[in-house]
Amino acid sequence: MVKHVNKTVLGCSLILTLFIGCGGYDNEDKNVVGEAKLLAPAKLLFDFNSSVMQSLIAQIGITDKPAFGIKGYKIIYATKNDKGEDINASGLVTVPVPSSAILEGLRKKGKTYSMSIVSDQHGTIFPDTEAPTNVAATIGTNAAALLSPDSWTIQSIIALSVVGGFVTIQPDYIGFGSSKGITHPYLLEKSSANCVIDMIQSALKFGNDGHLPLNGQIFLTGYSEGGYVTLAAAKEIEKNYPDISLKGVAPMSGPYDLNLTGMGVLSSPTMQRPDFIGGIINSYGQNYDIDLTTMVNEPYATKLPTFFLGDYTGAQIRAELTESIDEFFVTNFKVDFLTNPNNKLRTLFVQNSVNDYKPKTKTKLYYCKGDTVIPSVIPESSAAKMGIEAVNIGDTYEHVECASPAYEAVTQWFNELRSE
């Protein structure tokens, strides 16, 4: 009997082992969305209630819309640059706080308030003081500082969070904020995409931890360099991040086609913005280990690496550079770039152009016909290539003047998409 029972127990054990121990589920612990990205507790930088914001937007002529209060937080998150190196980046998360009147209005319509996220990528900056978290840090308790007409960071917060009720997230970018001291990877596709995607995931973690009523809607927008960064991020998300669903993508006035941008610049006698062009050359030289002296004449080749570490303003950099293409670029390099499709920088520009995919997400390229910094041919040809709409905001606006109406138009479009 005992012998037979032992056999039975053995048989049981064998069968049981078939069922035990495989598990195999991805994660059975805590919520891992953004878990490995958010590196430190968020730091509150400003906090204004809806009454204060209502008065504030009245001062800029908005009297027919209810204002949200806002709370701004600096977060630090993990990202990687083009070389795959770990970077501790930072960004600003502005959380709208609905007034009781807004909530009541929604309730009457049978709706509840939930939060959509807009990741807004800023345009080209040079001094670290212009990074979103540093701009926000200077606001403190001074609401009047939000009326600054010179900061895209603030204009964006007013449009998207105070009026629009979106959670606005604004990455500082690599090289600014917490990663100051690293050369900003200017118009490099991977770094640009990474810093946005990692910030989105960190913001989701931040929102989940803070019990924010996130609704999962993610929008992307950004102006100038931010337009490029936006499209780089959208392209990468559509390709490799199925768990992030983009509701709408609205890049504005960005150099999406770097080859076309470069050809335009080098075929002209002068540069309108040598600080921009110097930044690009320095960024590509450093990232791809190209000797700057093979592209740029002295003394600029020696000076360039020192200009883009967050310590100089654009005006200071421009003062140190020349507007003359022939003075700035090595002649042989210029000729080779313009005539040789295999020119190394030209090849890299093609590789880093972000208009080489067909978006599945609703995507529109906003621009101004009168922009001479980012000529309209760039957004128009990119939109045609990508099979999407290019939206002309105005025929007369220059690059800087175009930003404000473009943000307004984008906010309106996102607001429509949010309600679909």
């Binding site: 078939l18 598990g23 989701l204 989940n208 609704n215």
Partner: protein, 412 residues
């Protein structure tokens, strides 16, 4: 790897298990039990008595007996017709699956016998593709496999007792997707568990032709633990641990069988303690995004009630080789109409069955059985309103199940 493959194969066989009798309980596990509509307790005999009534192993011939069976289950599509919104009309997927059963009963050792069984005592699978139904139950699958080692002891010629340990492996899948009805929330959860319980049985033979038997299988709470992913607007907001507990309820049964000579009649009453199932409560190991809390984190009341089943079976020895079997049962459903959902739109059923055994030799016999489970239509009115726009207001119909079981038994 080999074990993993075997496990995977077994689970695949049991995948999508069954839903056709008393919610997700599956009483029929062998050709005889299927042919007798589950009226198989007092007159249980052979290898499969190790599962249905281990006390009766004591009255088996003094041989080792093994049997194996395979049940094909065909679950018809369930149709849901909404009373208010034709866009909510839904139809579940048809399910075809195979369920294996293994049984062993030993010869006697000083009054003791032992046995073991591998069965699928419950399970459910409901899959819906229609937008409204998919919003709450794109897939609800519960797989349950039981290994049940048992011992019996013959007290005297008239009385025997038996009992054993229940080892349950269970795996659950829950998916829902409300995107198509304008609520962009999705859920994808997979979990499993191993749980334990016991079973007891006794048989008393007051006179030569009469068997009286009772059995009890303990309640086992299946705490399915695994991973859940929650999405809003297509963006993953939660990816972490989660668990949900559902009962494999206790079942108490009494039966009597009477041998008329060549014919045995059995009457069985069983009570399934579904009242253990109070709520469907998913628990998450971390904070659930606020906007998903009400949909996925808050407990959903179920408030099931205990159910009664009445079964009758007839076994007729046609000749030395052939035995014919037939059965009928009335089986209640436990689901409260107020809380009934698409994951299990259960209703009362009538069960009809039949089968035969053929004795090929003294050692080897074959058996086959067919069972048809006819579910009643069920109209539900849960009070759809602005506050609860997805409440069920309509009728479930056309639910049914067809089982075909074949098996072989070998004694030595």
């Amino acid at each position: 790897m080999k074990n993993f493959l075997i496990k995977t194969t077994l689970l695949s066989i049991c995948a999508s298990s069954a839903l056709f009798s008393s919610a997700y309980r599956l009483p029929e596990q062998s050709p005889r039990s299927t042919a007798l509509s589950g009226a198989y307790l007092a007159n249980a005999g052979g290898a499969d008595t190790s599962y249905f009534n281990p006390a009766n192993m004591a009255f088996n011939d003094n041989k080792n007996i093994s049997s194996a069976a395979l049940t094909y289950v065909s679950l018809a599509k369930i149709k849901y017709t909404d009373d208010q919104n034709p866009a909510f009309n839904s139809e579940s997927k048809k399910e075809d699956l195979f369920i294996p059963h293994l049984f062993f009963s030993s010869k006697e050792y000083d009054g003791f016998r032992y046995g073991i069984s591998l069965t699928v005592p419950g399970g459910l699978s409901k899959r819906w593709d229609s937008p409204y139904a998919k919003a709450s139950a794109q897939e609800f699958t519960l797989k349950i496999i039981e290994i049940n080692p048992v011992v019996s002891y013959q007290v005297n010629d008239k009385f025997a007792i038996g009992g054993g340990a229940r080892v349950i492996y269970s795996e659950g899948i829950v998916k829902s997707d409300a995107t198509a009805i304008g609520i962009p929330a999705k859920r994808d959860m997979q979990a499993d568990t191993i749980e334990y319980g016991y079973n007891l049985a006794l048989t008393y033979k007051p006179i030569r032709n009469l068997n009286i038997a009772a059995s009890y299988r303990s309640n086992i709470d299946l705490k399915e633990e695994g991973n859940a992913k929650l999405y809003l607007s297509g963006t993953k907001l939660y990816d972490g641990g989660a668990n949900v507990t559902v009962p494999l309820p206790a079942v108490a049964a009494v039966a009597l069988s009477y041998d008329l000579g060549s014919t045995v009649l059995e009457f069985e009453y069983d009570k399934t303690m579904w009242s253990e199932y109070k709520a469907l409560d998913f628990e998450f190991n971390d904070n659930v995004p606020l906007a998903l809390k009400a949909a996925f984190d808050d407990p959903k009341p179920r408030e099931w009630k205990d159910t009664n089943a009445f079964r009758v079976g007839i076994t007729h020895r046609y000749n030395d080789k052939l035995t014919l079997l037939g059965g009928f049962a009335v089986d209640e459903n436990p689901a409260d109409s107020r809380y009934l959902g698409f994951e299990l739109p259960d209703s009362d059923a009538k069960i009809y069955s039949g089968g035969f055994e053929y004795k090929y030799s003294d050692q080897l016999s074959f058996a086959a059985a067919v069972l048809y489970d006819d579910k009643e239509s069920r109209a539900i009115s849960q009070g759809r309103s602005a506050a609860d726009p997805l409440a069920i207001e309509g009728e479930f119909k056309d639910a049914s199940a067809l089982l075909v079981t074949v098996g072989a038994s070998y004694s030595y």
